[in-house]
């Protein structure tokens, strides 16, 4: 993929994530901070389908943005065909791994498998 396209994805995921993370943080402020972290409250959040979908979107957007950012930083430090391939595929693998692990939490909690 062209770097210009990757940077457009990088900026797009950033803007979308800012909006969704703002909602995620505001949900912590609708009640007391400690109360919002209580087991029953968090469980109810996960079981509310629109909120679970939003968490999944945040997970995907931030994983793409975060690991592409890491890839850019690592490619700034050193260049070379083998190194660049290793960094790009390594970041891609880490991104998919994190999305899979986070999705597992969201899906299992939403389905009541706790």
């Amino acid at each position: 993929m062209r770097e210009s396209t990757i940077m457009k994805i990088h900026y797009g995921t950033a803007l979308a994530a800012v909006a969704l993370v703002a909602v995620h943080i505001l949900m912590r402020l609708t009640m007391g901070f400690a109360e919002s972290l209580e087991y029953e409250t968090v469980l109810a959040n996960y079981k509310f389908i629109p909120y679970a979908v939003m968490l999944e979107l945040i997970l995907i957007l931030l994983s793409i943005h975060g690991f592409n950012g890491l890839r850019v930083i690592l490619l700034e430090l050193k260049q070379g065909q083998a190194y660049e391939k290793a960094v790009s595929y390594g970041c891609l693998a880490a991104m998919f791994g994190l999305i899979a692990y986070g999705s597992r939490t969201i899906i299992m909690t939403n389905m009541g498998m706790t």
Partner: protein
């Protein structure tokens, strides 16, 4: 330019005290990005403890809901706000917003893109990050 003038290598490039607030912003952007990525990975792991049931969740909360945990979270809030505001500035700059018109380079060759608009953007990002951090501390310790 002789070889000697390059002798500092990557250290010279990285020196945040030599090239003004733009180089400081460059470093803060990368450090906050790496910090936020580390926090994000930790947060995904932290929230997966809900699968261990109420006992597992409460055990993990005991570790994070401490004074040190709240201070750490306040730093995360500051990194998040700085990274967002400075990121929007960088995006606008890449889109050609606020970088000035193309012109013939004349002595003393001040880059048109490093103007007061972008400097204000960087300082605003730092100030907003500090305000958000204070607000976060007030919320977390105000209970």
């Amino acid at each position: 330019m002789t070889q000697d003038e390059h002798k500092e290598g990557i250290k010279g490039m990285a020196n945040p005290s030599r090239y003004g607030i733009e180089r400081v912003a460059y470093w803060l952007m990368r450090l906050s990005g790496l910090g936020l990525l580390a926090y994000f990975v930790a947060h995904i792991y932290e929230t997966s403890n809900i699968l261990r049931g109420q006992v597992g969740w409460d055990e993990f909360l005991e570790l994070t809901q401490t004074t040190e945990g709240h201070l750490f979270l306040a730093i995360v809030i500051a990194m998040c706000v700085f990274h967002t505001v400075n990121g929007i500035r960088v995006m606008l700059g890449h889109g050609g917003v606020g970088v000035g018109k193309p012109a013939r380079p004349d002595y003393p060759y001040d880059p048109a893109s490093q103007n007061y608009r972008h400097k204000i953007g960087i300082y605003s990002a730092i100030v907003l990050a500090a305000i958000a951090m204070m607000y976060g501390l007030a919320v977390m310790f105000g209970e």
